[in-house]
């Protein structure tokens, strides 16, 4: 079980990284969501071995670690908030640059750098 869980964590993480490394803003945002998901999975996976009742706990019965659950909840919420922010940022960025591609961002960046250098050169 440990192996399977960690394999899935690794897989989700790898897919997330692969998406973040795309050259398109929406996919980058999707990638961060996957990465967040993988870390939440890791948190919950910590309680796989002893998972049991979470509600109406009785002493001595197996219990899913409530602290891990609350950590997972917090992580989900924070991830959600940040992703919402990222989505709006994607929208604004693509409007400002007229493109969804990250290379356009780089091009704009370089253009500015060259402009500054030219200006300073004189």
């Amino acid at each position: 079980m440990i192996l399977i869980a960690s394999l899935v964590v690794g897989l989700l993480f790898a897919c997330g990284v692969r998406m973040v490394l795309e050259r398109e803003l929406v996919r980058v945002a999707c990638g961060t969501v996957l990465i967040t998901n993988s870390s939440v999975l890791l948190i919950v996976a910590g309680s796989f071995p002893e998972r049991g009742e979470a509600l109406s706990v009785r002493q001595g019965w197996p219990v899913t670690d409530p602290v891990l659950q609350s950590l997972a909840l917090t992580a989900i919420v924070i991830g959600f908030a940040v992703s919402a922010l990222l989505l709006t940022l994607v929208h604004r960025t693509q409007r400002a640059h007229g493109s969804l591609r990250t290379d356009r961002l780089v091009e704009a960046e370089l253009k500015r750098v060259h402009a500054v250098e030219k200006e300073e050169g004189h």
């Binding site: 509600l55 919402a84 709006t88």
Partner: protein
């Protein structure tokens, strides 16, 4: 097709909100809590946006003032967390304290955690609704003015 969807969604709004309230109040005892409640309520409003459009959805006060509601929620949360220090307790002391008798009956217990969860609900509701509202607004203007 279109004719019955908007009224239906309007009909669905109130039950959804009641479920959200239930999630909030039951949070202490069973699955639920402020966060799911807020998200649920937000989803219910989202449904309104999808079916009846932004202008109709904004008829509700809570929708128009979603962002300030989130602020109120944060004040509630921070207040519940830090008010007890005025009485000499450590921050995040909830009442009744351990050992103090519980108030309330049946499934519902009065506990400051409820206020806390209520704050949570408002904040999450505020976030969801505001983001939706802004997206909806943009969709409207985008069609008019273009990129």
């Amino acid at each position: 097709m279109r004719s019955f969807v908007p009224p239906l969604s309007r009909l669905l709004l109130w039950p959804s909100l009641i479920i959200a309230l239930a999630l909030w109040l039951k949070g202490g005892a069973s699955v639920g809590g402020g966060f799911p409640a807020g998200a649920f309520a937000g989803l219910a409003v989202l449904l309104q946006y999808v079916t009846v459009g932004r202008d109709q959805a904004r008829r509700y006060v809570a929708v128009r003032y979603a962002a300030p509601l989130a602020g109120v929620g944060l004040l509630l949360v921070v207040g519940t967390a830090f008010m007890p220090v005025l009485a000499g307790y450590a921050p995040m002391s909830l009442f009744p304290r351990p050992g103090q008798p519980e108030l309330g009956a049946g499934g519902l217990h009065l506990h400051t955690a409820l206020i806390f969860e209520g704050g949570l609900m408002l904040i999450v509701f505020g976030l969801v609704v505001t983001v939706i509202d802004r997206f909806a607004l943009r969709t409207g203007t985008e069609e008019e003015s273009g990129p």
